[in-house]
Symmetry: C2
Amino acid sequence: MSDLLERLRGRGWRMTAQRRVVAEVLDGDHVHLTADEVHARAAERLPEISRATVYNTLGELVSLGEILEVSTDRRAKRYDPNAHRPHHHLVCARCGAIRDVHPTGNPLSDLPDSERFGFAISDVEVTYRGVCPNCAGA
Amino acid sequence: MSDLLERLRGRGWRMTAQRRVVAEVLDGDHVHLTADEVHARAAERLPEISRATVYNTLGELVSLGEILEVSTDRRAKRYDPNAHRPHHHLVCARCGAIRDVHPTGNPLSDLPDSERFGFAISDVEVTYRGVCPNCAGA
DNA sequence: ATCTTACAATGGACATTGTCTAAGTCAAGC
DNA sequence: GCTTGACTTAGACAATGTCCATTGTAAGAT
């Protein structure tokens, strides 16, 4: 267990049983869970936790910069605990598995001024899609 | 009007009044409409057209490679008639406006083998986000 | 021109994901 | 141990999209 709970408490986050279990669910493996998956895992330990609370808590953690929202498909948003190192995503077109990746280079420098249309660009998001070894082997 | 309808007919697409108006709606300006916006514009000319038909027709046009689906936010998918020249998107973080952009370079070459995890990568999608001149001026 | 038939359109129910609200509950400070 | 404002809850609601059974029709065959 990392110091996520400590950091949150230090920021004046009111600590409730619900928030604790949500934070602990995310503070494990670097997988990319949906809100409902987080809710299911949280409910194993705190059966009465409501969906709304999970949604609220996830939204707060995103605002606090402790986790990232990832939308790689039209389905549910996923939550990425790896918020402290910039990265992009590699998604399996078959099974939807997501890996964090760290490309070299900066896509921003690939966009000439003439293609910026006066926008003040603040962020670039890159999603690689392909078939993972698991799905390809089948 | 381009030759979109001709191309579709040539591919054996059964031409109905509904499909014609949907194709014609898309065959105009290179804007990025949602399915419901397409439905609204189509209904101006064919008031009885149903939502399901618009969804079906858009899905078919995507399968045929005549238009592209774009998902730049968590809201509705948008449809991009500019399917014949590869491009990426620049999205206004305030108003959601979308522009097609053509970055130089190839993001694929920025992803070393060690970061591919055995995936057979087939596609890269780049989304630039920022504030458009309109929203910045306000 | 009419018939035939497979393919398309329709409307409405349903599914998924997420948001909102009013009322009850509780963590943390006094 | 109170008090209080923040938190949680259940369920209604919203937005987008999909599915299905029924009805309609485009286009080839006669």
